[in-house]
Amino acid sequence: MGLYKTPGIVLRSMDLGEKDKLVTLMTEKFGKIKCVAKSARRMKSRFGASLEPLSYVHILYFGKEYQTLYQLNQADIRKSFQHIRENLDKLYRGLYFVELIDSLVTEGHPEPQLFDLLLEGLETLQEGNDLEPLCRLFELRIMAGLGYTPRLDLCISCKLDPGPGELGFSFLRKGVLCGPCTRKYQPETRITPGTLNTLRRMLSIEIRNSSRLKFPRGMEEEIGAITRRMVLAHLGRELRTYAFIKNMALV
């Protein structure tokens, strides 16, 4: 039996029987884990508000090594991101980040980089107002964090500088194609050199500085067509929370 202590962010919290909760967390030290929180459904539970999705908590849990379900002993709230919860535009995006992490990260492998991405993503969402660039940045960086950084410096086919003019992007080969190679191979998507430059910046910019990414009109869709499709191509399905972000704009 081991006792583990780590910061973590609550991804999901589901009722388990009449008294307990099954909680999925992205932890800093041990990656994604699932824990049972005994009696957490009771009104006067010691877990209180700590197990609500998006909560940044310090947890103590125990269980055998290599098992898949642990028991949660304690969860202390460090940040509850109230401001995100009180604004539906922000909340649905926060849940989108959480769903991306939950869908793309496998259980039980430490992924400190992806934990940092989620924490910084939520902190920036809490403070910031440029929500779309932040979402696109999150999509690109989660793919990079998983080891799928697209090649953007040189053409993936001829290895030369892509240069000016219309360029292409291949999701299959995960990178940019120069003008001549684009005409030759007819990849799925066309992009402009401006979009390419922005994508390059997005690979290195700090998440908290996402507001410095100004997407000129028209480019927003081009960037989204790349970053969102990278996620969808990898996952093979649409994310449930995405429709909520889109529909919220209509209310």
């Binding site: 209180g48 202390d76 449930r240």
Partner: protein, 198 residues
């Protein structure tokens, strides 16, 4: 020796019920086999009756044996106040308390983006229609104080904003009989925000 087919059939049906595993199903079936035929008939009839006689109220969506339900058709209830709850059983919990004299609206669930449950899956459109067509003074949002319940309340408040109706949210904070010492920071913050003048 194999179980008689009738016993297997009963076991299979019992195991479909929530919270009933193979062992409990076995125990229940033995209990029913030892009991009288009359007892078995009453249980079977009771189960059939809930399917035959229970409907959802066309006004509040609560479960009822006549439509509109007792509460919706009661002339003594305050028709200008609507209490919005997640599930039909929430109506009974409020009614057992006995202090609420208005009417209800059951959402039949809660908006849950992570489960893909959106406004069209609930009775939210119907709630909007009730607000439009009736001269309501107040809509009380009594969804659970968790992430789904809070965001559903926010969504409905936003949706009903154009109408001339007061929209309120049930108080969140410390449970009665609780202890400040053991409250988490969010609960404590909510209790301070929801403080009342004495």
């Amino acid at each position: 020796m194999k179980r008689p087919a009738a016993v297997t059939e009963l076991l299979e049906e019992l195991k479909r019920l929530p919270g009933i595993g193979p062992k409990t199903a076995e125990r229940l079936s033995f209990f029913l086999m030892r009991g009288s035929e009359d007892q078995a008939r009453r249980l079977a009839q009771a189960i059939i009756h809930i399917k035959e006689k229970i409907v959802l109220c066309s006004q509040c969506h609560s479960i009822t044996d006549k439509d509109p339900c007792e509460i919706c058709s009661d002339p003594n209830r305050d028709r200008s106040t609507l209490c919005v709850v997640e599930e039909p059983h929430d109506v009974y919990i409020f009614e057992n308390m006995g202090h609420f004299k208005g009417q209800y609206h059951v959402l039949m669930g809660v908006i849950s983006p992570l489960d893909g449950v959106g406004p069209p899956d609930l009775t939210i459109d119907d709630l909007k229609r009730r607000v439009e067509q009736n001269n309501l003074k107040e809509v009380i949002l009594a969804t659970n104080p968790d992430m789904e319940g809070e965001s559903t309340a926010l969504y409905i408040a936003k949706l009903l904003k154009p109408y001339n109706v007061k929209i309120s949210r049930i108080a969140r904070g410390l449970p009665v009989g609780g202890d400040i010492e053991f409250a988490d920071s969010v609960t404590l913050q909510k209790s301070l925000e929801g403080r009342m003048e004495l």
